[in-house]
Symmetry: C2
Subunit: 114 residues, 2 copies
Amino acid sequence: MQLPTAVEALSALAHASRLAVFRLLVRAGAEGVAAGDIAREVGALPNTLSTHLTILGYAGLIQSRRKGRSIIYSADYERMRDLLGFLVADCCAGRPEICGSLGEFAADTGCCAQ
Amino acid sequence: MQLPTAVEALSALAHASRLAVFRLLVRAGAEGVAAGDIAREVGALPNTLSTHLTILGYAGLIQSRRKGRSIIYSADYERMRDLLGFLVADCCAGRPEICGSLGEFAADTGCCAQ
DNA sequence: TCGATATTTCGGCTATCGTCGAATACTCGA
DNA sequence: TCGAGTATTCGACGATAGCCGAAATATCGA
């Protein structure tokens, strides 16, 4: 992942409603949630939420598919992993004890492996 | 970590210069880097960078200490872990294969443990 | 095909963010 | 204590983000 891509993803998440949406979808798993249900869940107007979903989608954090009249949104776990990995890349200057429970994941990013 | 706290941290990181600063400090480890060196590294004016450092500090992502005329900044790894944990909390609806190399870290957050 | 449901797009307004130049604070060595 | 080095604070400006109402698009059931 490149820095501008990461900035875009972080910008997408740096908003109360959008972060709530993303976490909702992360919890929901692959089945996803319909746009209307998301709007009710986070307490946003449908048009405002639609804008938020577009932003999250453009950042690559969520995906969508149509199902009848509804559009189902779901989290993109791979992009999420990439983003987390980018944040901790080459972290802690080779001192694994700093990473704590990041463990195996952190090692994947080049952290603790120097 | 609460949602508003996470939004503040993500907002702090959602900026090219600030993200570059944070990753630089993550790589630097506990020794940290002086403000002036950070400014040179990311190519920002000292006053602009100072604003960015304040924002990162207020979000709890970095810490500072004075050393002579310089002020040394360093990453707060625990806050970073909290933020990552918040993003993946209760993720993937109990299907560990989605998490991949998040492994041990993800389990700590309630993910994959349902 | 028509109306109802579900969602998105558009246009506008306001509020906030990012940047810069200039001025101010803090620390050290002579 | 004075000057140089280091970093922060202040004030102002332009650019961008977020929100809402209204209108448009897409799908389904009768």
